[in-house]
């Protein structure tokens, strides 16, 4: 990422860069720069709590009694082999699937039965494993859709496009430009989303979810199918989002090295069940995990 020109940004950037350049040993550095957040998150109640979530489709059980907490300000990774139920969990949290049983609390309040747009209104945003961009829209417009909940103008304001509506549009476009800068997409801002290469599209999607200024961001395999360079860029952006924007992140990822580098804690799913939870190192050493996941992959 080409850093912005302020000194504050410089600092954050270089921190992030260092953490990657020295990976995996640089983890401690990254940790240091996040000390303040770290302190706060342990003193606050979890931003999201899932309790005994089960989900089944016509007899097939995708999730069985999965429950974990997401702490404010952390990066929590959910890992597991293919078909372990990672995306199902993301879909449950974002309201796309209604769990068969179990409950979900966001900031202490039960919102198990919320619809996706109600979940979004709470401040939970997400990206998708497969690209889910609005293909007919430009990069700017895609990210502007992310601002949907921060804008007010409805049918008449939009149709007349004068005064408040115009000011609101301008203001939100300004915010979008900031995200475009942040994600280094300036060069492509006017392009139709579906004409961009895969890696950029993934980045636009991240930008769209960041534009929502979420309290909790779910990233479903944001680095799948990327080459090494693209992955590194993405990791940097994720860490920046976590640190600079103070966004709590649930990261669903396949790439173990990435997960181990940047996660505060890791939840491991296998066949729809949670088999381990803890910080990266604990999980890495867990026998069950090695058996179910690492053993397979390695």
């Amino acid at each position: 990422m080409r850093p912005g020109s302020t000194s504050a940004d410089e600092e954050a950037d270089s921190d992030a860069e260092r953490s990657l350049d020295n990976a995996p040993a640089g983890e401690a550095d990254a940790g240091e720069s996040r000390d303040a957040i770290s302190v706060r998150r342990h003193s606050e109640p979890p931003i999201l709590r899932t309790e005994a979530i089960s989900l089944s489709f016509g007899g097939v059980r995708a999730l069985i009694d999965v429950g974990f907490d997401v702490l404010t300000g952390e990066i929590l990774s959910i890992i597991g082999p293919n078909g372990a139920g990672k995306t199902s969990m993301a879909n449950v949290i974002s309201g796309l699937y209604r769990p068969t049983s179990g409950r979900i609390f966001f900031k202490g309040r039960d919102r198990t039965a919320f619809s996706p747009q109600a979940v979004a209104a709470l401040g939970i945003a997400r990206t998708f494993q497969n690209l889910a961009l609005f293909r007919g829209l430009t990069v700017i417009e895609n990210i502007l859709v992310g601002r949907h909940l921060h804008m007010r103008s409805g049918l008449f304001a939009g149709g007349i496009h004068w005064g408040t509506a115009r000011r609101e549009e301008l203001e939100n476009r300004r915010r979008v430009e900031e995200i475009i800068e942040f994600l280094n997409l300036t060069e492509f801002r006017g392009r139709a989303a579906d004409t961009l290469p895969y890696g950029l599209q993934k980045r636009v999607e991240l930008g769209r979810s960041l534009a929502a200024e979420p309290g909790l961001l779910i990233l479903d395999e944001p680095m799948a199918g990327m080459n090494r360079q693209e992955k590194e860029d993405m990791v940097r952006v994720v860490v920046d989002a976590n640190v600079d924007l103070e966004t709590t992140i649930i990261l669903i990822e396949h790439d173990m090295s990435v997960v181990m580098d940047i996660s505060d804690r890791v939840v491991v799913l296998d066949h729809g069940e949670k088999i381990a939870e803890g910080d990266a190192e604990t999980v890495r050493q867990d026998e069950t995990v090695i058996g179910a996941y690492l053993g397979q992959e390695a």
Partner: protein
């Protein structure tokens, strides 16, 4: 006469008519199943086929005319597939839908250029006297038409399940990409499907022609198939058959029992009301598959 017998008579009438709705709906289903095209020209194809048939009969006799018409419809189908739909492969279904409108214009115009604007009778020599079974009236020609429709449907089902081409068609309907990788030539199959739809159009044209004569309004018979498609699902052959029967019965019973309450004329609306009911409870039809999106 008591309402029970009347109800039974209406149900039978409805079932018999319904089988003829199924015939028309089948033409749509075949093409949609194989190529996701909603062929609005099906009605025009029915008109074209029937006009060609009755135009040829006085020249060469019924059987030769029938054979020739099959040939002509095959030609029309191949033309439509090659000249119109092949260049549009990959276009949005809506665009192809409008192209079928264009095809309908072409077919209707040329049918009237070749065969004139005058209506014709098409009498297949079926007995017309009503049949009374235990005090219940059954319409003889409708009964025979229904048998013919059933026979034709069975032929189609056999074709789909027993022949190599038919199996290929079903494979394509399930998954275009997989079928292609199995070495099934999409384009060849599409041509065959269009020819089949042309033949279904001819069959429907004959059955309806025997009933209402052969004339321009025949292309409007296709409208009767639309509620059938909602109920049965656009890509289901059994759906088209069952839904055709449902629509037939709903129309007859609706006209007979609900009609008197609102001053009659509810027949066509019944079909759509039933269709809307289905939309509420089974949005993708009786046998249609809901597309579950993976995210």
């Amino acid at each position: 006469m008591n309402d029970l017998i009347y109800g039974i008579e209406l149900t039978i009438t409805g079932l018999l008519i319904g089988s003829m709705y199924s015939m028309v709906a089948l033409g749509f289903v075949l093409i949609f199943k194989a190529s996701s095209v909603f062929n609005f020209a099906q009605g025009a194809m029915t008109l074209f086929a029937a006009l060609t048939l009755v135009g040829l009969i006085p020249m060469v006799g019924f059987w030769v005319a029938l054979l020739l018409t099959v040939g002509v419809m095959g030609g029309v189908a191949v033309f439509a597939e090659r000249a119109i739909f092949r260049p549009l492969v990959g276009a949005e279904p809506l665009v192809i839908f409008v192209a079928t409108l264009g095809l309908a214009f072409i077919l209707e115009g040329s049918a009237q250029i070749f065969w004139g604007t005058q209506p014709h009778g098409l009498k297949l020599g079926l007995p017309v006297e009503p049949l009374m079974i235990g005090g219940v009236f059954v319409s003889m020609p409708d009964f025979i038409s229904a048998l013919a429709a059933a026979f034709f449907v069975i032929l189609l089902v056999l074709f789909f399940h027993k022949t190599r081409i038919g199996l290929g068609l079903r494979a394509i309907a399930d998954d275009h990409v997989a079928a292609q990788s199995m070495g099934i030539q999409l384009r060849k199959v599409w041509t065959i499907v269009w020819v089949l739809a042309g033949i279904v159009a001819l069959a429907a044209g004959m059955l309806w022609g025997a009933r209402i004569g052969v004339h321009f309004a025949m292309s409007l018979i296709a409208l009767k198939a639309l509620p059938v498609l909602i109920i049965g699902g656009i890509e289901s052959i059994p759906g088209a058959i069952v839904a055709g029967l449902i629509v037939g019965v709903a129309e007859a019973l609706g006209e007979g029992f609900i009609g008197p309450l609102v001053g009659g004329g509810v027949q066509d609306i019944m079909a759509y009301l039933v269709a809307l009911l289905f939309l509420m409870f089974r949005p993708y039809g009786l046998f249609g598959e809901e597309m579950i999106e993976r995210v």
